[in-house]
């Protein structure tokens, strides 16, 4: 039945020119406002060629020459639509990158969703034109591309604008789109290479030399992430669970005897620069965690009470990454 109202919304939803519905809020669909398209250098050469053929057709009155010109010109228009179509409607989803230490390469993962029943060929993706990676996404499937970004300085980094580019199929047009995500990269200070020994202290805060070996065993408690695997109470675990290893227990050693480290920014030698100090603290935090020590952390006005575990380490590293000289006391 023919309705009087043409359903524009329905037509719009059917044409790639207008926006596709995104699957999630994070996902971005490349639509007509995001895909830019201009003739490429090759395209301009092609135009010059067309003009030459056209002039020859006029000058020698070649009607078949007119036909050839028009076919080639239309092919360029069709190519423009193909190029646009190769990029438009692509769904992009970026995931937050894992924090890295300064100087390391961060990995940004970009999920590419092609919901159309035609493959998308030869799409270049990268932060700059020079570091493009080529990707093909088969029909109605997803692709993943990992972009590398070398961090130089600690702190928060805005994920750089990602450029998607294609000139498929004929190379006469460049179509591109930018993806600016709200994802941030956290860069920790680079850990100092060959940092000195950890600054062991007594519970009262006085520094002391390291004491070898663990102190007296005082009992067990539930395993916390970050507890040293060396301290797992294997015998108690076996006894308690009756062979079903679903509870992890850690040994607890009696108080005063446990080795303890305080990572204090202000206690470091004044000859070191701020960044060097941060690097050293970073290296120490990593080493203390690795050795399963309990360590406290003091950076300016921020104090983290002695603890250990992945979470504690992360908090320390975040403090180090975001430390700013202005807030220094």
């Amino acid at each position: 039945m023919w309705t009087h109202h043409v359903n524009w919304a329905q037509i719009k939803s059917k044409v790639l020119f207008w926006q596709n519905p995104a699957v999630s809020l994070q996902e971005l669909i490349l639509d007509r406002r995001r895909v830019y398209i201009v003739p490429s250098k090759t395209g301009f050469t092609y135009l010059v060629l067309l003009i030459m053929i056209f002039i020859a057709a006029i000058n020698f009155n070649l009607n078949l020459g007119y036909a050839l010109t028009f076919i080639l010109a239309t092919a360029a228009i069709v190519d423009m639509l193909y190029t646009f179509r190769n990029l438009a409607g692509l769904g992009l989803l970026s995931t937050p990158p894992q924090p890295v230490f300064a100087g390391e390469t961060a990995q940004f993962t970009l999920h590419l969703a092609n919901r159309n029943p035609r493959p998308r060929y030869a799409i270049g993706i990268g932060f700059t034109k020079e570091t493009m990676q080529m990707a093909d996404i088969p029909a109605t499937s997803n692709g993943i591309i990992t972009l590398s970004y070398t961090s130089t300085q600690r702190g928060w980094y805005q994920c750089p604008r990602i450029r998607l580019h294609t000139s498929f199929p004929m190379g006469l047009f460049n179509a591109w789109a930018y993806l600016q995500t709200d994802k941030h990269l956290l860069v920790y200070p680079a850990p100092e290479q060959g940092a000195p020994e950890l600054p062991y202290t007594d519970i009262d805060g006085e520094q002391s030399l390291a004491k070898s070996g663990h102190d007296e065993f005082s009992g067990v408690r539930n395993y916390h992430p970050g507890d040293s695997p060396k301290n797992l109470a294997w015998r108690q675990m076996a006894r308690q669970s009756g062979g079903d290893n679903d509870v992890l227990l850690s040994k607890v050693f009696s108080g005063g005897q446990q080795k303890m480290v305080l990572l204090d920014f202000s206690a470091l030698a004044v000859t070191l620069s701020t960044e060097q100090k941060l690097s050293r603290l970073c290296a120490w935090a990593l080493r203390a965690e690795k050795q399963g020590l309990v360590y406290g952390f003091k950076l300016g006005s921020h104090y983290l009470s002695p603890s250990n575990g992945e979470r504690h380490q992360r908090n320390c590293l975040i403090e180090l990454a975001l430390f700013s000289t202005d807030t220094r006391v």
Binding site: N20, L64, A73, T74, I77, L81, P117, Y121, M170, G171
Partner: protein
């Protein structure tokens, strides 16, 4: 281009993507170069072929490309050779030859995609160059083939890793060509035609043209007998002449120097449409629409004798005193005109003193034997008609023969022919007859043109080919005016009375098979050829001769009255935008492939919406059925449908039985609702 593997690896395995692309490019390039074989010197074609072969060998075997210096020296060598052998350094042939060689050399220094693009673009240009030599229907089809190949290869060079198979890529090229056709056709039909040339003088038509020349000497018409080329086509409206009466007049030659016949300098032109006598009912006027192929000459064709002609726009035409239609400009484009002819018996004619002098002129002291023979003849008879009859009869009775390869004639052409060789074709007979008539004191002249023609039953056009070229004579009789006499008809009446199918049967295949023995085959061959000719004729008429006149006719078909040239861009812009918009809509349409199962579910949801129980967008089929059960007392068919659909879609129960069951349930739901 370095190969990563040894050649043996690639012989054992399939060729890599790069190599397939390169070979594809070489092949497409070859296709674009083939038409130039005829135009370039043979050794240039050979060199191009060798270079292409070399490039293919390098690709397949995975050798290194030759060094730049080697290529430069090869190019210099061949280019020098071309310039050395060329008569004209700026000529088109020289340019084409150099372009051909440069294309092949460029293939040999192809390093990156950019170079491949350069080769492809040059190939597009070569396609245009090929049109200088031919624009026939076959050329058009060949152009399409080349374009599809080149599109495909241009696309192939832009793939990264995911690449469709080779055949699919060829298909893509062809489909791209197909997609361009609607818009390209529209542009072709509506784009304003600019009358060339933009610079320089009109160049002589590039096609190798054969046709009548402005002089006659034994041999130059018989050359045409072997040419299949079309001279012109005619559409008759009203009366159609019999084949034996179809004398297409072109040039009148009245001056003989003993060797060749030429036309005396142009006389006064007569007014067009000058005739005063009314047309006779017994012998009606013949209206012809003639489509004439370019022949680089000045004369147009018409049946004996033309009385009026429509002036085509681009030419100034004159009807000469000798009843020729003369154009001051050479005929370099296909030409169409309407002409009316009337039997010479109905036209009053005068012979001026100058004309009489011209048409009695003979070379002095030439052909003494003939002159003696004529003097003897003059003693027996005096009546011009009787004399003419006697000479024609003499040709018939004496052992004269019709031959396309007569023995050569000496200096005394007519003497040799009359008394020694006695063998020749229309030129010999016409020449001898006119000389004898003049010697007898009867004004006479030679007329060249065409005789006959065959009707193509497919499009109703009569085709006159170069092989129909003919020469005949006219003599002046005091009380009757100019009278056409065809002395060749006295010798070989068959030459004049064609059978319509004779020509078709004689060409092409008949050289391989004797078609006369196979009536059925002959008939088929006739129809195929007739159809092909009709197609070609339509191509020439509508494709190659498409101009502003035709554009006007085309636009008028859409109800625009008297379109103006200034309106054309507007019409073009509007219609091209519409077509481009449609093209974009089709190409950017989101194809969604829904399975039959999804279609059923879609129908179901649509119906439920009309029944007032729409599915919420976030609901799956099972949630939906739960809600329906809770909300309202609904027929179990609906629930059953949803449950079965859910099992089919997400379980493993999808088969034809269940599909049919779903269909049945949907029908039941519908009946249930409408029954209420």
């Amino acid at each position: 281009m370095k190969t990563l593997f040894t050649p043996a690896f690639w012989y054992q395995w399939r060729l890599s993507q790069d190599k397939v692309n390169t070979l594809h490019l070489i092949f497409s390039c070859l296709l674009a170069l083939i038409p130039f074989i005829q135009q370039s010197p043979w050794w240039v074609s050979l060199a191009a072929g060798l270079l292409l072969f070399w490039r293919s060998e390098i690709t397949i075997a995975g050798h290194q490309l030759p060094s730049k210096w080697l290529l430069i020296s090869i190019t210099c060598l061949i280019t020098t050779g071309i310039l050395w052998s060329a008569q004209n350094w700026m000529g088109r042939e020289t340019g084409v030859s150099i372009l051909v060689i440069l294309t092949c050399v460029k293939l040999l220094e192809m390093q990156a995609r950019r170079d491949a693009m350069a080769v492809i673009f040059v190939s597009y240009f070569l396609l245009a160059g090929q049109l200088f030599y031919s624009q026939s229907l076959l050329t058009g089809l060949y152009l399409g083939l080349c374009l599809a190949c080149l599109f495909s290869v241009q696309q192939s060079f832009h793939y990264h890793q995911l690449t469709p198979p080779f055949l699919q890529r060829l298909r893509d090229g062809a489909s791209l060509l197909g997609v361009t056709i609607p818009l390209a056709l529209l542009l072709f039909l509506l784009f304003p035609r600019i009358q060339g040339p933009l610079w320089g003088k009109p160049q002589p038509h590039p096609y190798g043209m054969t046709g009548l020349s402005d002089y006659m000497q034994p041999g130059n018409i018989s050359e045409l007998f072997f040419s299949d080329q079309i001279a012109f086509r005619v559409k008759f409206s009203g009366a159609t002449p019999l084949p034996q009466d179809s004398y297409w007049r072109a040039i009148v030659l009245d001056r003989f120097d003993g060797q060749r016949w030429i036309a005396s300098p142009s006389q006064n032109n007569i007014r067009l449409n000058m005739d005063t006598r009314p047309a006779s009912i017994a012998i009606p006027d013949i209206f012809q629409h003639i489509i004439m192929e370019p022949n680089n000459q000045h004369w147009l064709f018409a049946l004996d004798l033309p009385i009026s002609i429509t002036n085509p726009d681009q030419l100034t035409l004159h009807l000469t005193q000798r009843r020729e239609i003369y154009s001051y400009r050479q005929l370099q484009e296909r030409l169409q005109y309407d002409v009316v002819s009337r039997s010479s018996a109905l036209i009053s004619q005068q012979l001026t003193a100058l004309e009489r002098k011209n048409t009695l002129q003979l070379p002095p002291n030439a052909n003494p034997l003939t002159m003696q023979w004529v003097n003897n003849l003059r003693k027996t008879r005096t009546d011009p008609t009787e004399l003419a009859q006697y000479v024609l009869n003499y040709f018939r009775v004496e052992p004269f023969s019709y031959s396309l390869s007569p023995p050569p004639l000496g200096n005394q052409q007519v003497d040799d022919f009359m008394f020694t060789t006695r063998s020749g074709f229309c030129e010999h007979y016409a020449s001898a007859f006119v000389v004898i008539m003049r010697a007898l004191g009867i004004p006479a002249r030679v007329v060249t043109g065409y005789q006959g023609g065959e009707l193509n039953p497919v499009d109703g056009l009569t085709t006159i080919r170069q092989s129909d070229a003919h020469a005949w004579t006219e003599i002046w009789l005091e009380n009757r005016g100019w009278l056409r006499i065809d002395p060749t008809a006295a010798i070989a009446p068959n030459r004049v009375q064609h059978e319509v199918t004779q020509h078709y049967a004689a060409g092409g295949f008949s050289r391989l098979i004797n078609l006369n023995e196979h009536a059925w085959l002959r008939k088929q061959a006739f129809y195929i050829r007739a159809n092909w000719d009709a197609l070609n004729s339509a191509w020439n008429l509508w494709g190659l001769n498409y101009n502003w006149e035709k554009q006007k006719a085309f636009i008028s078909m859409f109800g625009v009255h008297d379109p103006q040239l200034a309106q054309l861009p507007v019409i073009l812009a509007l219609s091209a935008s519409i077509v481009t918009g449609l093209l974009a809509l089709i190409l950017l349409w989101k194809q969604t492939k829904s399975t039959p199962l999804d279609k059923l579910y879609g129908q179901f949801c649509k119906r439920m919406r009309t029944y007032g129980h729409p599915r919420h967008p976030e609901e799956g089929p099972s949630d939906y059925s739960h809600r329906l059960q809770q909300e309202c007392s609904i027929s179990p068919h609906f629930i059953a449908f949803l449950q079965l659909y859910s099992r089919c879609k997400y379980g493993k129960e999808y088969n034809s039985n269940n599909y049919n069951a779903l269909k049945q349930l949907l029908k039941k739901c519908h009946q249930h609702k409408t029954a209420r």
